[in-house]
């Protein structure tokens, strides 16, 4: 596998959790779903549960007319109605001393991840990244089955008849976007934006991984003298000392009629 990031944004299916009879272990080992079999739908990832339901025309688009009124609100349906499975497969074959992480850049609001029969819990919080080292749970044949059970916010709240800014404000108990209960400029979002709402990716590295570099520039002599300070976290995933050479390169885009020969 080439070193770098591989985004998983195609070939996702989704299904309402109450309509799936298998466990996450079964879905990712003996009973993987097939896209054209109900209750499975083609899913929008990244996106929300409602985005997937709208895409499959199972609910009207909430942004037209009063269509939003005809979509069942989570306060009436209960959280399980918007608790959804998301499923996909991916290829990944590592060479010796390579490692791979599965990354979720944002999930709303918490989730359980199943990969080839192994389970990991993604803790609560709409604005946090999750990264799981899956090096040792990849399938030897390279074909991997991934299922994610996504739960809505803990406090979805109930929209009072008069609406209002933030509905009954219950959503404020969670660390999540608050507009979803409706505001003076916005109707309530029925699923409270539950879903895998940002990028899912694999990051393939050798024994040492670069994490969250921090670039800071400082200026002196009226901006004539500038320094670029760089701090990185380096993680050695192997079981032996890693002798590394760390290189930073800073270049500018070629402009105008300057060409690189």
């Amino acid at each position: 596998a080439a070193v770098g990031k591989k985004v998983l944004d195609a070939g996702w299916f989704a299904a309402r959790s109450t309509e799936v009879d298998f466990t996450g272990v079964e879905l990712t080992t003996t009973h993987p779903p097939h896209s054209d079999q109900a209750p499975w739908l083609k899913a929008v990832v990244p996106g929300t549960v409602l985005a997937t339901l709208v895409k499959n025309k199972l609910v009207p688009d909430p942004f037209y007319g009063l269509e939003n009124e005809s979509i069942l609100d989570i306060a009436d349906s209960g959280r399980e109605y918007y608790t959804f499975w998301f499923f996909t497969t991916f290829e990944c074959k590592l060479s010796t001393n390579q490692h791979v992480d599965l990354n979720f850049r944002a999930i709303n609001y918490s989730a359980e991840v199943y990969l080839n029969g192994h389970k990991e819990v993604l803790p609560k919080g709409m604005f946090r990244r999750h990264s799981i080292d899956i090096t040792h749970i990849l399938n030897p044949d390279g074909e991997n089955l991934l299922a994610v059970l996504v739960y809505p916010p803990d406090h979805p709240g109930r929209i009072p008849p008069e609406g209002g800014q933030g509905g009954d404000h219950e959503i404020g108990k969670d660390v999540a976007a608050q507009y979803v209960e409706g505001w003076d400029w916005m109707a309530p979002i029925r699923d409270r934006n539950t879903g895998i709402w940002d990028e899912v990716s694999l990051s393939i590295t050798g024994p040492v991984k670069i994490v969250d570099p921090h670039l800071v520039s400082s200026f002196f002599d009226n901006y004539k003298r500038a320094y670029l300070n760089t701090t990185v976290e380096l993680v050695n995933k192997s079981d032996s000392v890693a002798e590394c050479s760390l290189t930073i390169q800073v270049g500018t885009e070629l402009e105008g009629d300057v060409y690189l020969v």
């Binding site: 929300t48 969670d174 916005m186 990185v232 002798e243 590394c244 930073i248 390169q249 270049g251 885009e253």
Partner: protein, 237 residues
């Protein structure tokens, strides 16, 4: 091109925080907000090679040299901004989010943000009831020169000033709030367009959260002072 390589050993199964010796730039092309100059961006690439293995990982990011300052003006009580030492009159727009079903795409972000730049805005205010915006949002704000005022997830209505008053002490789990805030700062902090972190909308976060955020977001003193005097311009030239 500026290039620098350092050798280091990392013990098995561990992680290290490493600060490279700083890179010196003489008169770098500065990044300016929309309407004040060019949004000069550099390509920063960091690579780690491991002995007997080869390239192990790499990371790249657009980076803009700029200094953004802001303070409350004692006369007006308003917040004044300076970029690279020059005062700037803020023409800002409220930003909630691209789409209520979070169908967020690069194309949509570019269109929305270029639209605001074409309207001669120079700041986007990301409202506390919406999202911590995504890297793609900031990428296009870097390109089109829109400074970003990014609020954390506190609003007056939901956190202690609504009617009826609700959640006077904000979210139930303050540690979770700070974990999300710290991770969000790490996700977004290298973008030149990021101008200001703000506790919330029409409300100060609960005391413990606000104090922790202020402490976490201070610039490390290491970056405050000029290098030792031998690095004077004369010597370098």
């Amino acid at each position: 091109v500026h290039l620098q390589t350092q050798q280091l050993s990392i013990p098995a199964g561990s992680s290290v925080q490493y600060t490279l010796p700083e890179l010196f730039f003489y008169k770098p092309n500065l990044w300016w907000p929309n309407g004040m100059g060019k949004q000069s961006l550099y390509d920063v690439e960091i690579t780690v090679n491991v002995e007997n293995h080869g390239e192990s990982d790499s990371w790249s990011q657009h980076f803009g040299f700029r200094k953004i300052e802001s303070y409350i003006d004692s006369n007006t009580g308003g917040r004044l901004f300076k970029v690279n030492g020059k005062p700037i009159f803020i023409r800002g727009g409220n930003w909630i989010l691209s789409d209520g079903l979070l169908r967020l795409s690069k194309k949509r972000y570019e269109t929305d943000i270029k639209f605001h730049a074409d309207m001669n805005f120079n700041m986007m205010r990301c409202w506390g009831g919406g999202l911590a915006e995504r890297p793609d949002f900031y990428h296009y704000c870097d390109i089109y020169g829109l400074l970003v005022w990014q609020e954390f997830w506190i609003t007056g209505d939901c956190d202690g000033r609504g009617d009826p008053v609700s959640n006077p002490n904000g979210p139930l789990d303050h540690d979770l709030f700070l974990l999300c805030a710290r991770d969000t700062v790490k996700l977004l902090r290298n973008h030149p367009s990021l101008a200001l972190w703000v506790g919330g909308n029409e409300q100060v976060p609960p005391e413990d959260i606000n104090t922790a955020l202020k402490k976490d977001l201070q610039l490390h003193p290491y970056f405050e002072t000029s290098m030792d005097c031998e690095h004077s311009l004369k010597d370098i030239c």
